[in-house]
Amino acid sequence: MSPKDNFVLPDLPENPSRRNFFKSGAAAVTLTLAPGITVMAFGGTAASAAGADAGKRWGLLIDVNKCAKDCTACVTACKDENGWAGYGDPEQNSQWIRKVTMRNKATGHETEMPVMCQHCEDPPCVDVCPTGASFKRVDGIVLVDKHTCIGCRYCMMACPFKARSFVHEPVNNQKPHAPRGQGTVESCTLCVHRVDKGQIPACVEACDATGHGAMVFGDLNDPASDISKALASYPSVALRPDLDLNPGVRYANL
């Protein structure tokens, strides 16, 4: 049960409100059109009005071979987009995404790749959360509902990818679409505020802009999506496949 079932909005004192008007207006427009064609009135796009779609599973494919050494475009873009650059103690700053270097001890070969929340199908962070703040959206995006987060950090212990951070210091100048503050846990949201508007995550956009094209974002459930086609045509792995978490983030050429 999601907490919203607990809320019953009080009736308005008088006639139809803006909220009812908008809802019914939007529905009417969607209904009158042929299947597959939706036009939203009131400036919205079909994607933003629909919300999370249970038929989708959002994922990322990271081609490690294309990930350039010393390039941190994805990390910088995430910081800018979600405002977690931080100040004060660098040891306490959040990391929604980080570049990890792996060195093959036998050959000395080094591989770099970005690691962020892996958006597991069976997320351990959700299992352990005592308040239901850690949750998975119907479209597979794993989030913290900071309104119910009590800052206990069990989820940080449970995550095998160290993907979550705790905010130790008071924060100001947040981005309006990415509120964050002292005493709660946070992690990569797969740029849910952009995805809901039909856009791609900021890290993927930045990686594309550098020309490396190491990151592909898309719907794993749609066989025609770029990511599904890529996954079908060359080998890829999940991090920690032994844990059987079925992450939405996959790595190729690792």
């Binding site: 909005l9 009080p10 959206r137 309104h147 100001n172 309006p176 509120p179 002292q182 505020h193």
Partner: protein
């Protein structure tokens, strides 16, 4: 005579205006800063009573269901309800008692934690300090000062 009547009725109209403009039921309480933009179709009285329910409802729609076309969006409140400092012309943060959300809340002794995470000013304004976003914000209460001096005493003793 007709002219006199018009003048008298006009006078009455002018005198009656402030009374009409004040909507019913709001006679006692703090004075709110002026809002810009369109008023709420739900009406001021409804908003006064139920703004917290509306926001709680809509925040779950956004977070849990990804529904972003919401009416009671906390980030949008300050598009219309920004209080500016007369001297600097800058929007005030939640740290300031003139902030829109504090005018009533201070009056009725309500404290909300929304602004530890959410901006209390419109996007683009550079908030000078994170003071308003402290979690342990018991204000200037004696308890807070006690806790604060206790913590500082611990810090200074551990330095030695």
């Amino acid at each position: 005579m007709k002219r006199l009547l018009t003048i008298v009725s006009l006078l009455f109209a002018v005198l009656a205006l402030p009374v009409v403009a004040q909507d019913s039921g709001w006679r006692y309480g703090p004075t709110l800063s002026e809002a810009s933009g369109d008023p709420h179709p739900e009406g001021n009285e409804y908003m006064r009573k139920f703004h917290m329910e509306l926001m709680k409802h809509d925040r779950d729609m956004t977070l849990r269901d990804g529904e972003r076309e919401i009416d009671a969006s906390l980030k949008q409140c300050f598009d219309c309800h920004t209080v500016k400092d007369e001297r600097t012309g800058d929007p005030v943060t939640y740290d300031d008692e003139r902030h829109f959300c504090r005018t009533c809340h201070d009056f009725v002794s309500v404290k909300v934690d929304c602004f530890t995470c959410h901006r209390s000013t419109p996007e683009g304004f550079n908030e000078p300090s994170p003071l308003h976003a402290r979690l342990l914000d018991l204000g200037a209460s004696p308890e807070f000062e006690m806790v604060e001096s206790f913590i500082t005493s611990l810090e200074t003793s551990s330095d030695q």
